[in-house]
Symmetry: C2
């Protein structure tokens, strides 16, 4: 978001962790393994559409930065990624999404039925694995996180009425939907650390996660100029109300507000209609406001790291903040 | 299934447990409570379509029959019922069912999206509650059961090809889909009991659960003469292959087999077509075979109870077997 510094890539962050991340990947494959053909087949597709392992990265960095050296770290990181995957499978099914990271979704390749069952399968496997670690503590953190995420999904369903959706509602939404799992990943990486460090990492993950989601929502308005040349506006197309619009609305004139309301009433808004609202949001300072909030949350996350001793891993956690706020896609 | 003895009703079985079952009901309401309006609303509908509390009944009887007197029994029974409810919500969503026990399903009243999220909400609440008991043992049993049930759901999706679906496939299906949770309920009621008693109750629940599902599948062919006058045949209508058909097929002549294959190829089979296949299954001994198997499983369940000391609760567990095999609906 600042153009002065060279952007931090996730690849840079992950390079020193590569052997540990490979181990996480192995653990993930072991945990989801099934002796039932259909599940094996779905698993294979899941691994193809798998993400960037940002949550496992945070967990491993939290482990290193607290000097905890938890021997369970790779397994815990795999479980966190598995919970993330289970959520994506259900999300795609709920949203009837066809693509995820450019790959066809489970519901589009197989069926809606298989997606629902598969999400349940993955989540219950995650719980079994945690039980096998013979420690209630990670279960305590991650069962709360998972429940929070379901409440977030419910909140998401109501985020379609711009005139009645407040910034407070939005905050609750992004905390539960996105930040809770990033926070949980950081906390579970510090289970063996001093309570103050564990709490600081939990708060770090929460602030980072909120910034992460705000940037995500901003990118929908700003776009990646180098890639598409214009913003996608897919949230507006789906009538999803996010921070830029919430912040812009009270500053808009009556004509612009009417444009917003018209768009929200249109089942399939045209590109031109979407670009008009994006311009109105930008003109009314909605993008600046959202950027500002993401940066404040980034500073807050940064402040939490003061609780930890200086180390290369702590620097990598700092760089993770830069990665989150500077990313272009 | 035997007409000599007076049928045992679930009400009879539950009468002595009424105060404890009321406590289970209170626990259930406490556990699912949410401070989010939409979830509260869905919960209210859930309680209206709630079932007969057979699983909590078994858990409480197991607790009493082993003399364990586990102070957590009501909570554990509520969690088991909650897992059952979560499964029904996802099942109805996967099957696009409109009614469950004569009440509209969550997916039909609210939406498919809300059903998927709500099932996840209920299950993660169940896990949180178990973690709060500070004992990994119930979690160990119930996380495996939940995972088994998801595998069962996957197996169910493949139970549509009569010529390729064996009795062994069917056994695996009903074990994972139905019997695993009844078995888990009985086992979790005996966590504080001697290991031999706990193991006997686990096996009792497995045999009882398999008998339960076989009788369920039989009732679809036999019907409740006093209610409808003819079998519903809804499994055949949905092209679900169950034990009566599996057992009958090898004994059928070529003409009857062709009737079966034709029905399976017909997207919406007519009533007459269904009644013809039901008659063919009956003529080929499919119903007798399934009845016979249910009775053998009932005997097996009965035998497991020898491991327990004589008590009114043990007699009630015996009566539960009679309830399962004698029920007409």
């Amino acid at each position: 978001m600042s153009s002065q510094t060279a952007p931090v890539s996730l690849g840079d962050l992950q390079r020193p962790l590569r052997p540990r991340l490979d181990r996480v990947q192995q653990e993930l494959r072991r945990i989801v393994e099934a002796d039932f053909g259909l599940i094996t087949e779905v698993n294979a597709h899941l691994f193809q559409m798998q993400g960037k392992m940002f949550r496992p990265t945070l967990l491993l960095l939290a482990d290193e930065a607290t000097g905890a050296g938890d021997p369970r770290a790779a397994t815990l990181a795999a479980v966190v990624e598995l919970i993330h995957l289970a959520t994506l499978v259900h999300d795609d099914s709920v949203d009837h999404s066809v693509l995820r990271r450019g790959m066809p979704t489970i519901n589009s390749i197989f069926s809606h039925q298989i997606s629902v069952i598969m999400g349940d399968y993955l989540y219950s496997r995650a719980v079994i694995e945690l039980v096998g670690l013979n420690d209630l503590e990670p279960l305590r953190v991650l069962s709360r996180v998972t429940n929070e995420m379901t409440v977030g999904e419910m909140r998401q369903l109501l985020a379609h009425e711009p005139l009645h959706y407040s910034e407070e509602d939005y905050d609750l939404l992004i905390r539960s939907k996105t930040a809770s799992l990033l926070s949980g990943a950081c906390e579970v990486g510090a289970l063996l650390a001093a309570p103050a460090e564990r709490a600081a990492l939990r708060r770090y993950g929460m602030a980072l996660g909120m910034a992460f989601q705000i940037v995500d929502d901003l990118l929908d308005y700003v776009g990646d100029a180098s890639v598409t040349g214009k913003p996608s506006g897919s949230d507006l197309r789906e009538h999803k109300v996010t921070l830029p619009l919430i912040a812009a609305l009270p500053r808009m004139g009556p004509a612009e507000r009417q444009e917003v309301e018209a768009l929200m009433r249109t089942p399939e808004p045209a590109d031109g209609q979407i670009q008009t609202v994006i311009a109105a949001v930008a003109d009314s300072g909605g993008l600046d406001y959202a950027r500002e909030r993401a940066l404040r949350l980034a500073q807050q996350a940064d402040g939490e790291l003061e609780e930890l001793p200086a180390s290369p891993a702590r620097e990598a956690l700092r760089d993770s903040i830069a990665y989150v706020v500077d990313r272009r896609r």
